[in-house]
């Protein structure tokens, strides 16, 4: 039995509008040295007619567009990974299935475990392919998350503090198969660490709550614990030597820096200057897209992977170590190999150029969106979207390849291509 498996095609979609995070911090009166520690530049802000479905479809469409009809017909499972679901019963995968014109002979479902959802979805797809129950089958895994900062009042803004500039939106689509041109998974090489903790959560349809200190502690505990489990399953692993690059779940860059420092101190007692150089070298590239879209939750570790593939010097295959953490909590350290072929394939998606095309919101426009008047709340029965809510953000010309929300009729969301 072949154990060749991984990501065949991959794309990141960072939405239609962005906000300069430095401007936001200035506006909120947040302390600048602290802001620098976030290692953030921009964040994606979801427009009212962008929801987890449009993000997911817009990420996945270029992925399936590159397939032949026969290949598309082999997509036998669509897993949506999200903590931004729009219905308790009906999965976002059903909408993806419709707007991507996939075969009716297909498993559709959605999974949740905070920011760990994407790694969970990927591993389910990987195991589906490895099981050979349907030889040659492909699985489409799509992470899609938007932050929920509508319903703003002065107290809420106070409470968000540094989570407001770091919370973003984005989707990652990954076609998983036995021809992993973009990222070949090291099958069987993984480690988990999980325990129950109330660090951050989404207790209501449009609310987020959390304790930043507790979340950071759980993240650090998991990072060490998951890597420890990985070493117990894989012979001869060395955190410093085995991985040319690392990609961690990135709520903001500063947190990744803290986790990396923790591991390097714990495992090797490395001096600070050497730790800093290793961070720049092995984790710097992974921040390329995260610092432009903000925390994308379930997709964050794969946004990091895309950044590494697109920006690292790559003249031969190299091994990457990935760490995913989701509040609540569950985590995983796993690994795989990228090659110059990965760069070529992922490069064809033009992720960076697409991010450049986002409309840059003014603070006034952002504040208007935050007021939540235009937001389609969870459980909305009927709605008609105002596509001119931020006139400059609506594209004057389109190619019919960008999906937006148009109406909600009897809870059913209707989308249009623009």
């Amino acid at each position: 039995m072949s154990s060749t498996v991984g990501i065949e095609v991959m794309n990141v979609f960072g939405g239609m509008a962005s906000l300069d995070v430095r401007e936001l911090c200035d506006h909120r009166g947040l302390d600048m040295p602290r802001f620098e520690n976030l290692l953030m530049r921009e964040k994606t802000v979801a427009l009212p007619y962008e929801d987890p479905v449009t993000f997911a479809v817009n990420a996945a469409r270029p992925v399936v567009d590159g397939l032949t009809a026969e290949e598309r017909g082999r997509i036998e499972m669509v897993v949506t990974c999200t903590e931004s679901g729009i219905d308790f019963g009906k999965s976002i995968s059903t909408y993806l299935h419709k707007y991507l014109n996939l075969s009716p002979n297909c498993r559709l479902f959605e999974i949740k475990q905070a920011c760990y959802s994407g790694a969970a979805g990927l591993q389910m797809a990987v195991n589906f392919v490895l099981s050979q129950t349907s030889p040659g089958a492909k699985a489409l895994v799509v992470t899609t998350d938007i932050s929920r900062f509508a319903l703003a009042d002065a107290n809420a803004i106070q409470e968000w503090a540094y989570s407001e500039p770091s919370s973003g939106a984005g989707a990652v689509a990954m076609l998983v198969s036995d021809t992993p041109h973009v990222f070949q998974i090291d099958a069987g090489a993984y480690g988990n660490h999980a325990f129950e903790v109330m660090d951050t959560c989404r207790p209501g349809p449009d609310t987020e709550a959390g304790d930043a200190d507790l979340s950071l502690m759980a993240y650090l505990d998991c990072c060490a614990g998951a890597f420890d489990d990985y070493t117990s399953r894989v012979e001869g692993v060395d955190f410093k030597e085995s991985f040319a690059q690392l990609c961690f779940h990135t709520p903001f860059g500063g947190m990744v820096k803290g986790a990396h420092r923790h591991l390097m101190r714990k495992l090797y007692k490395t001096p600070p200057a050497e730790i800093a150089a290793d961070f720049d070298n092995r984790l710097g590239p992974s921040l390329a897209y995260g610092q432009r879209v903000g925390n994308t939750a379930g997709g964050s570790v794969f946004v990091a992977l895309a950044g590494t593939i697109d920006t690292v010097d790559l003249d031969q295959p190299v091994r990457i170590g990935l760490f995913s953490y989701g509040s609540g909590c569950c985590s995983e350290f796993f690994s795989g190999v990228i090659s110059p072929e990965s760069r070529k394939r992922l490069g064809s998606m033009g992720i960076s150029a697409e991010l450049d095309k986002r409309y840059r919101l003014s603070i006034a426009e952002y504040e208007h969106l935050l007021s939540g008047r235009e937001t389609v709340r969870f459980g909305t029965k009927d709605a008609e979207l105002n596509h001119q809510v931020v006139p400059g953000a609506w594209p004057e010309t389109g190619h019919g390849d960008r999906l937006v929300l148009d109406t909600v009729v009897g809870y059913h969301r209707n989308y249009i291509w623009i």
């Binding site: 520690n37 507790l214 950071l216 759980a218 505990d221 947190m255």
Partner: protein
């Protein structure tokens, strides 16, 4: 070792981690957040104190202290347990 000595260890680690606080008095009644120690730095102070005490427990067990003295009490309880 009592909690006062542990508080001294914590304060020494704060001074090491956040050199900008030099000259500012720090007591067990202060909270790290109010002193301007950010969340990443707070975790580093706690990790360093754990290392000094030879304490190997999940960090989440040290969550919830209101100030440096409270953290020292927690560390003492975990060291004894």
């Amino acid at each position: 070792m009592d909690s006062n000595q542990i508080a001294e260890i914590i304060i020494a680690e704060i001074r090491e981690t956040v050199p900008e606080l030099a000259g500012q008095p720090i007591t067990a009644q202060d909270s790290m957040a109010e002193l301007g120690v950010d969340s990443i730095e707070r975790s580093e102070v706690i990790l360093a104190a754990m290392e000094k005490l030879g304490l190997k427990i999940p960090m989440v067990q040290l969550h919830g202290a209101r100030n440096i003295g409270g953290l020292a009490e927690l560390l003492l309880a975990k060291s004894a347990g």
